[in-house]
């Protein structure tokens, strides 16, 4: 079956010749019309639309956006904050940066609609510290929108007003964890908070109810408000509505951004047709489907089981290429859609070395607050580092798995899973390679080769 056409919703204008990121261009293309219509509606209607749309968060967890909004504590009398998570740090993911660089007003419109719907009067965009250009673009865009009365007090002739502030992070992956992010805005180390009791919807920023949404999610809100919840929910597949930007990187001929209806494209169509297949003379070996913390998938494996189609349970027997790229299917086969960062590895890759790279990242990014992740991530890094530097042992694979098993599910935040899943899945799927690694020629480092980790 040939791959479907891309469905460019967020990327409708991005990459169009002559499309620039200033206000005039955005307004010329119908920008802020949805906001104008939205502020004339009842806020509850917009929340309702988002609920009906079935929109799931695009940050990684895939939590239903409408449900997140309804969990907000609206009775406390405290102000409600919106925090935009633009701390895009998951290796393999680069969609939010592109949206911010190419179409910042789309994000701002989404923010303003979300704020209006939830009666928020102050929004913070927490942008990754390594995105100075993105921060500059956002500052400029907010100033433009403010001057045009789309942001600020009394927007578009209504009594409603909302300010947007850009807050730059200081360079840590953990700042993308929503409660760590909140701590960071408050000026503290981004130690994720314990939940309970610190659920952002109740005790978030400055101990006030807070919505934390991803950049792409908020852009979708703009399109939901434009099309209506019912209409939006027809895009994609049931429970996996809308479109999704897939960031493909690694060993394919045409890596890049591709926006598809969720679940309408399979892994095989995406990699072989859309991305042009493996590099010349190479074959695909493994793929990480949702950012580096998602569990790795092995080409040649088959995935069997039962799944729900409508009201019925049907058998499925998929090769890796058959898997639809949606939240539920990827979760069903033991990985996750995550942040949409698809990392492809071909047969030139040593899985031990790839894992050493990933472990180096996670041990560097562990905040150090809770024991299993703090100690476990560095231990795993030291083991894989030792392996690739020529002192591998046959039992290291089993040890790695045992260490990873002691982390997942026992930490304050999801970083525990993020750092344990790669190791667990690499060892589970490529255990032979770990066993054979001490014997392989690659295990010995050539003189003069710089340290990998």
């Amino acid at each position: 079956m040939p791959a479907p056409e891309q469905f460019r919703l967020i990327f409708r204008h991005i990459d169009e010749p002559g499309y620039t990121n200033d206000l005039d261009c955005y307004v010329r293309n119908g920008g802020y019309e949805t906001l104008r219509k939205s502020v004339a509606r009842k806020p509850e209607e917009i929340v309702d639309d988002v609920k009906k749309s079935g929109l799931r968060g695009r940050g990684g967890a895939g939590f239903p956006c409408g449900v997140k909004w309804t969990l907000l504590d609206r009775k406390s009398g405290k102000p409600i904050y919106l925090v935009v998570n633009a701390d895009e740090s998951e290796p393999g993911t680069f969609k939010d940066r592109y949206i911010i660089h190419k179409d910042p007003h789309q994000l701002i419109e989404g923010i303003m609609i979300t704020c209006f719907a939830n009666k928020v009067e102050r929004a913070y965009i927490y942008i990754r510290g390594e995105f100075p250009e993105g921060a500059r673009i956002l500052e400029k865009a907010i100033a433009e929108a403010r001057a045009a009365n789309f942001v600020g007090p009394g927007i578009l002739g209504t009594a409603y007003g909302c300010e947007i502030y850009v807050h730059r992070g200081a360079g840590a992956y953990i700042c993308g964890e929503e409660t760590g992010l909140i701590e960071s805005i408050e000026g503290k180390r981004p130690y994720p908070r314990i939940k309970p009791p610190y659920f952002p919807a109740v005790l978030g920023l400055y101990q006030c109810p807070t919505i934390v949404n991803n950049v792409e999610t908020l852009c979708h809100v703009r399109h939901i408000a434009e099309r209506g919840g019912e209409a939006y929910s027809k895009i994609g597949t049931p429970n996996n509505t809308g479109t999704r930007i897939l960031c493909v990187s690694g060993h394919v001929r045409r890596p890049g951004y591709y926006e598809f209806e969720v679940g309408k494209v399979t892994m095989g169509q995406l990699l072989n047709e859309v991305c042009g297949g493996p590099l010349p003379g190479r074959a695909f070996k493994a793929v990480i489907p949702g950012g580096s913390s998602a569990k790795v998938l092995k080409f040649g494996e088959r995935y069997k089981g039962k799944r729900k189609v409508g009201a019925e349970m049907v058998d499925y027997d998929w090769s890796l290429e058959d898997i639809p790229m949606d939240f539920d299917s990827l979760a069903m086969i033991g990985s996750m859609g995550g942040s949409g960062g698809v990392i492809v590895m071909d047969d030139s890759v040593s899985m031990v070395e790839a894992l050493a790279n990933i472990n180096a990242f996670y041990s560097h990014e562990s905040c150090g607050q809770c024991t299993p992740c703090r100690e476990g991530s560095l231990w795993m890094k030291k083991i894989t580092g030792r392996m690739v530097h020529g002192l591998a042992r046959a039992e290291d694979g089993a040890l790695l798995k045992s260490v990873a098993d002691q982390i997942a599910g026992r930490t304050i935040c999801a970083f525990g899973e993020a750092c344990a899943w790669p190791t667990q899945s690499f060892v589970a799927k490529f255990g032979d390679e770990f066993k054979a690694y001490p014997e392989s020629k690659k295990a010995k480092r050539a003189d003069g080769v710089p340290d990998l980790v």
């Binding site: 560097h364 562990s366 150090g368 024991t371 100690e375 002691q406």
Partner: protein, 569 residues
Amino acid sequence: MIQPAAPDLITVTIDGKEIAVPKGTNMIEAARRVGVDVPHYCYHSKLSVVGNCRMCLVEMGLPAVDPATKAPVIDPATGKQRVNWMPRPTIACATNASPGLHIRTTSPIVKECREGVMEFLLINHPLDCPICDQAGECKLQEQSTGYGRGYSRYIEQKNVKPKRTVLGPRVMLDDERCILCSRCIRFSKEIAKDDVLGFVDRGSYSTLTCYPGKRLENNYSLNTVDICPVGALTSTDFRFKMRVWFLKQTPSIDTESSAGVNTTVWSREGVVYRVTPRENDSVNDTWMADSGRILYKQIREGGRLESIRVNGIQADLDQASTEAARLLSGGRVAVVGSGRSSVEEQFLTKKLAAAAKAGVHLVSRVGEGDKLLITADRNPNIRGALVTGLVAALPSAVLGALGAQIDSGAVTCVVSVGEDLLAAGITAGQLAKVSVIYLGTHANPTSAAAQVLIPTLTVFEKHGTFVNQQFRIQRFARAVPGSPGATDDLLALSRLVAAAGGPSLGADVGSLWAAIASEVPALSTMAYGNIPDTGLLLDATPWEGLPFAEGPSLHFKPAAPAAKEAPRG
């Protein structure tokens, strides 16, 4: 007094045992009540909960309800409501009692979690117990016996971190031993209100340190050493001095102010090595000031009075009593009692004054309170003097009236119980005019001028009680034997009472308390042995109009001034 409303009780089930606990009790505390120990490092009952050590992971379950009808789901096998166990373990410290909550602390998964955390905590730990001061009272050692591996799977290089970091004048840090529980950071922020500690770097390289340009030098810094679950923070005073398992623990009271901080005195073979706070949730929680911890040094300090002297010549207690009887028989006696004396000593001082028909004077010591555990009144037992009837009003800092009486010749003999008269405003000329009977521990101008000098004991060497600012009577006990040549205060005072022609009274706390209970109305129903370790609150109403010096401090609010019609309760 209005009793606080009875808290809502909630029934929770811990390892199959049901217990009713107040709403909001966390599962570590609830488990403690049924005798189940949930191991933990970062949790401390007096600090905020951060849940970072992950040692207290337990299995948690909630009663099952039908999602549609909200009706309880009954398990037909047991006839009880079914429990939905969570798939993932949860931390007990941040799990508060909710109706029907179940936890399991002994299941295989919980054991596995604890073993995992222990292994992680130890891989980068130096394992230098043989030279570590914490050995013997180290939580890592304790939990290792239950959840340690006995061998190491870790063949990598351990992390290298700073050793011997001086955090402040009294606290030394070994970062390699630190398990990053953040108790010290939270204590500094939340209790001492001196936010100077924090972590730098991240992940396993996180390092505890002081903020740039700051030092951990507040007067509560040593509490961080007490609450450090491992040997990372050590006291520069106690470091490398003694193995803790050799030390005897004696309950005592801090004498530096009227807060009446409960302490434990740690001693071995007659030598005190350290003083630490003893938990009393109505007085000092688990804290005490650094300044109170070095008071034990007075025991072996220079200037300690070493022998009974009569007119400068070494004598025994009989000779001293005879000479005292001669001086007291002349009439025109004044007694200077002390707010530092115990209740028992003050009772005897009152008896002495009555027998010698003498007026009683007291010296007040008022400084600035720190709103925590050092109060404005630096006498530990002014209220004891009120309760025993030694004095009826609060004293002043200067013995002006006594000076005038000496000048006028109305007083020719002064008995001083440990008070240096010169420091209390009596001039050298006035002192020369009177004969002095002095009881005290250390030499000073008054002891040098005394005709009769009886060396006595420090608080660490005797038994007794103090009444603190809350009118809470609290016991202290003898930690070490008395200094050579010193006489027990009670014996010395009872001999003086007899010398002045008074009744013969017991010279030990037990027999003395029979007399105290019969004569002191506020203490009439009590006996020394019956006072609980956390003290007993006395009825303060007879003295509530007095202008006490103390401001608010931990667990203490001064009574509203009597003049104002403040609403009660």
